[in-house]
C-alpha cells in the first residue's frame, strides 16, 4: 500500500506540465452558488477524478472546463491558455456525456467522423483515423449500425471513440459508466484504464461512485457543497482523509465525536461524551491541543473481533454482537460497546462458524489505524 502512495506522488510531482488549471473558480446560477472558489491543477497525462455526492458542483466544474458554462468568477486555463470567452467548439477538449448524446440519425461511423469532418480532414485521413478509433473501442464491426441498434455498453464505446478520434488535449468524462449495469461497469472500468494508459491523454472524470474513482484515478478531488475537501491519490484519500466528510464519503467508516484529552509528541488521547477513550497515532496533523473537538475515524476492515483472549492493544473494548451480515467475501458485524456506541466491523470470510447474536465479544484496533480529524 505504501509503495502505491510513493509512486503516485512521483507522478504528481514530476509531471510539472499542467493541462488544466482552475483558479478561484466560482459559479452562481440564479443566486445559488454551485461552485465556491475552487483551485485545481491537473497534470499532463493524468487520470483525474472529481468525486462527490450529487449536487456538489462536480458536473458544473466539468462543464466549465468544457466551455458549456462560463465561470461567474475565477479562471479556467487549458495548457496555460486562458479559456475566458473561448466557446466549446474552440477548446482542445472532448466530452463523453453521461447520456452518451450520440446522434441518432447517423451511423456509428458518421458519429465518430463528425468532429474530423468539421475540421475538413482529408478523405484518407478520415478513413484511417475513424477506423483506428473504432478499433480502439472494439466497435469496427458495428460501424454501419445506428445508435438505436446498440446496447448501452456499445453506445458508451462509440461515445468514447467519438471523443478520442479528435486527439483532444483533455478528455472529459461525465459519469461515463453511470448508466451501465454492474458487470458491464467493471468491464468498462478496465477498458477505460487501459485506454488511458495506452493513449497517455489526460482524462478528467466526474463520478459519484467512490469505488470507480479509487480504482481508476491517479488523483482524486473530493467535492462537497461546491468546495474541494481534499485532493490526493486514492490511497491518500482513503487512508488519510483530511476532513470528516471525506472519511465518511469514501468507503465505510466509524466516526466518533470527541475531545482531545491529552496530546503526546506522536499520539493523542481522545475521549468521547460516552466515556470511550481512544488512542490515535498522529500522522501529520499535529496541530491538536487538549480540549480541541475532533472526530476519530476508524475503517471497519481495520477493526478486529475476537471472542477469546485478544492481543495487547491500546484500543480494546468489550461489547455485544448486535448484527451479523454474511456478504460472501466478507462478514459485516455490528458491535454495541459498553458505552452504547455501535461499531461496524468487516472481516474477511475465513470459513469460520458465524458467532451468534448477543454474544459478548471484544474488538480492538491499532492506534496507527485510526485518524483524528479536527472539526
Amino acid at each position: 500500500m505504501s509503495q502505491t502512495v510513493i509512486q503516485n506522488q512521483d507522478v504528481a510531482e514530476t509531471g510539472t506540465k499542467l493541462d488544466v488549471e482552475l483558479r478561484k473558480v466560482f459559479k452562481v446560477f440564479n443566486g445559488e452558488t454551485a461552485v465556491r472558489g475552487i483551485d485545481l491543477e491537473i497534470h499532463q497525462g493524468e487520470f483525474f477524478s472529481i468525486l462527490g455526492p450529487s449536487g456538489c458542483g462536480k458536473t458544473t466544474t466539468l462543464r466549465m472546463i468544457a466551455g458549456f458554462e462560463e465561470p461567474t468568477g475565477g479562471e479556467v486555463l487549458i495548457r496555460g491558455q486562458s479559456m475566458a470567452n473561448v466557446p466549446p467548439y474552440k477548446r482542445p477538449v472532448n466530452t463523453v456525456f453521461q447520456s452518451y448524446a450520440l446522434f441518432g440519425h447517423m451511423t456509428v461511423w458518421d458519429n465518430v467522423a463528425f468532429g474530423l469532418r468539421l475540421q475538413k480532414s482529408s478523405k484518407s485521413e478520415l478513413q484511417t483515423r475513424v477506423g483506428e478509433a473504432l478499433q480502439l473501442v472494439k466497435m469496427e464491426n458495428l460501424a454501419r449500425r445506428y445508435p438505436a441498434q446498440l446496447s448501452g455498453g456499445q453506445q458508451q464505446r462509440v461515445a468514447l471513440a467519438r471523443a478520442l478520434v479528435n486527439r483532444p488535449t483533455v478528455v472529459l468524462l461525465d459519469e461515463p459508466l453511470g448508466a451501465l449495469d454492474l458487470k458491464l461497469r467493471k468491464e468498462m472500468q478496465m477498458e477505460l484504464s487501459n485506454l488511458h494508459r495506452d493513449l497517455g491523454v489526460t482524462f478528467v472524470m466526474v463520478t459519484h461512485d467512490q469505488e470507480e474513482a479509487l480504482s481508476l484515478s491517479d488523483r482524486i478531488a473530493v467535492m462537497n457543497q461546491g468546495r474541494i475537501e481534499q485532493i490526493g491519490s486514492p490511497s491518500q484519500i482513503y487512508e488519510y482523509p483530511q476532513t470528516p466528510f471525506v472519511a465518511d464519503f469514501i468507503g465505510d467508516t466509524n466516526l466518533f465525536q470527541g475531545q482531545v484529552e491529552a496530546s503526546y509528541p506522536s499520539s493523542l488521547q481522545v475521549v468521547t461524551p460516552n466515556g470511550l477513550t481512544i488512542h490515535v497515532k498522529l500522522h501529520d496533523n499535529g496541530q491538536l491541543a487538549p480540549g480541541d473537538s475532533v472526530v476519530v475515524s476508524i475503517r471497519p476492515e481495520k477493526i478486529h473481533v475476537s471472542s477469546g483472549a485478544a492481543p495487547e492493544q491500546m484500543n480494546y473494548y468489550d461489547g455485544t454482537l448486535k448484527n451479523v451480515m454474511y456478504m460472501g467475501t466478507h462478514v459485516h458485524y455490528v458491535v454495541e460497546l459498553k458505552s452504547g456506541d455501535k461499531v461496524t466491523v468487516f472481516q474477511t470470510n475465513r470459513a469460520m462458524a458465524l458467532p451468534s447474536l448477543n454474544t459478548p465479544v471484544q474488538i480492538y484496533w491499532s492506534a496507527a489505524d485510526c485518524i483524528a480529524l479536527s472539526v
Partner: protein
C-alpha cells in the same frame, strides 16, 4: 395436459360494451359510408339507385371550377405550411432553448390559436385586414392560415424537442461545430420527422378550412371547401359526393402518414 379454461366472457358474442362500441362507430361513420355509396350511383337523385357508375368522378375531372378551386386550395395550403414550418420550428426551438422574461406568457400566446374558435380568428382577421386597408386576395387567406398552421407545427416540434437528449447540441459544439452547424447538422435532422408530421397535419387543416378562408378571401380567390359549400346550398349533387370521398381518402392518407412518421421516430427514440 389440462388446458386452462377460457374466460367465460369471450364466449358471449354480444356484451354491452360491444353494442355501445358498434353504435358509436355507426353514428360516426354511417353518414360517410352512405355518401361514398351514392357517389357511385348512376342516377342523378339520391332517392333512386341507378346502378354502379363512375360518371360523377369523371365529371369532376372536367369541371374547371372545381379544378381551379383545388388549385387555389393547394396554393394556400402549400404556402401557409412552408412558411409556418420555418417559423414554427424556429419558435419551438427558441422556446426550448432560451430563457427570457415573459417566456411563459409568450409560450401561451403562441399556442392560443389552437383553442381560439375558428370563427373568432376569421372575424378578427377580417376586421384587422379591413382596418389596415389591405385588399383581400389569396394572400390574405394564406396569412390567416399561417396563424393556426404555425401553432400546430410549433406544438408538434416542441413535443419532440422535450423528448430529445438535451446534450445533443452540446455534443456537437464539443466536437467542433459552431452553433449554426450544430443546429443544421444535428438538431434539424433529429427534428425532421416532427417537422414533417406537423406539416402534414397543418396541410390537412388548411385544405379543410372553410370558415377562415371564406372570411378572408378576396375577389377571385375560391378554395375547394368554399366551392363545395356554395354548391351544396342549392342541393347536394352527386359530383360533390364523389369529391367528398376523394377528399376523405386523401386526408385520411395524410393523417395516417403523419401518425406513422411520428410513431416511427418515437419508437427510435424509445429504443435509444
Amino acid at each position: 395436459m389440462t388446458s386452462l379454461p377460457s374466460p367465460p366472457r369471450s364466449k358471449r358474442s354480444f356484451s354491452w360494451q360491444f353494442v355501445i362500441t358498434l353504435l358509436m362507430y355507426s353514428f360516426m361513420y354511417i353518414p360517410i359510408l352512405v355518401l361514398a355509396f351514392y357517389s357511385f350511383n348512376a342516377s342523378r337523385f339520391s332517392s333512386t339507385w341507378g346502378g354502379f357508375s363512375l360518371r360523377w368522378y369523371s365529371s369532376l375531372l372536367n369541371d374547371s371550377r372545381i379544378l381551379s378551386a383545388l388549385g387555389d386550395s393547394l396554393r394556400v395550403a402549400i404556402c401557409a405550411v412552408v412558411i409556418s414550418a420555418v417559423l414554427g420550428t424556429m419558435m419551438a426551438v427558441g422556446l426550448a432553448k432560451y430563457r427570457f422574461p415573459g417566456k411563459g406568457l409568450y409560450r401561451g400566446v403562441s399556442y392560443l390559436p389552437l383553442i381560439i374558435p375558428d370563427i373568432a380568428i376569421a372575424v378578427a382577421t377580417l376586421v384587422f385586414l379591413v382596418s389596415i386597408g389591405a385588399s383581400l386576395s389569396l394572400w390574405t387567406i394564406i396569412a390567416a392560415h399561417i396563424v393556426f398552421c404555425l401553432a400546430y407545427i410549433a406544438v408538434v416540434v416542441s413535443t419532440r424537442l422535450t423528448g430529445l437528449n438535451p446534450h445533443l447540441e452540446e455534443a456537437a459544439l464539443d466536437l467542433g461545430a459552431t452553433p449554426f452547424q450544430a443546429f443544421l447538422k444535428v438538431l434539424l435532422p433529429e427534428l425532421m420527422p416532427a417537422i414533417f408530421s406537423g406539416c402534414l397535419l397543418a396541410f390537412v387543416l388548411s385544405m379543410d378550412d372553410l370558415l377562415i378562408a371564406s372570411f378572408t378571401a378576396g375577389g377571385g380567390a375560391n378554395t375547394l371547401p368554399m366551392e363545395i359549400f356554395s354548391r351544396v346550398r342549392t342541393g347536394v349533387k352527386p359530383d360533390i359526393n364523389a369529391l367528398s370521398v376523394i377528399l376523405i381518402l386523401f386526408s385520411g392518407f395524410l393523417a395516417f402518414l403523419s401518425e406513422y412518421i411520428r410513431f416511427k421516430s418515437e419508437q427510435r427514440r424509445l429504443r435509444q
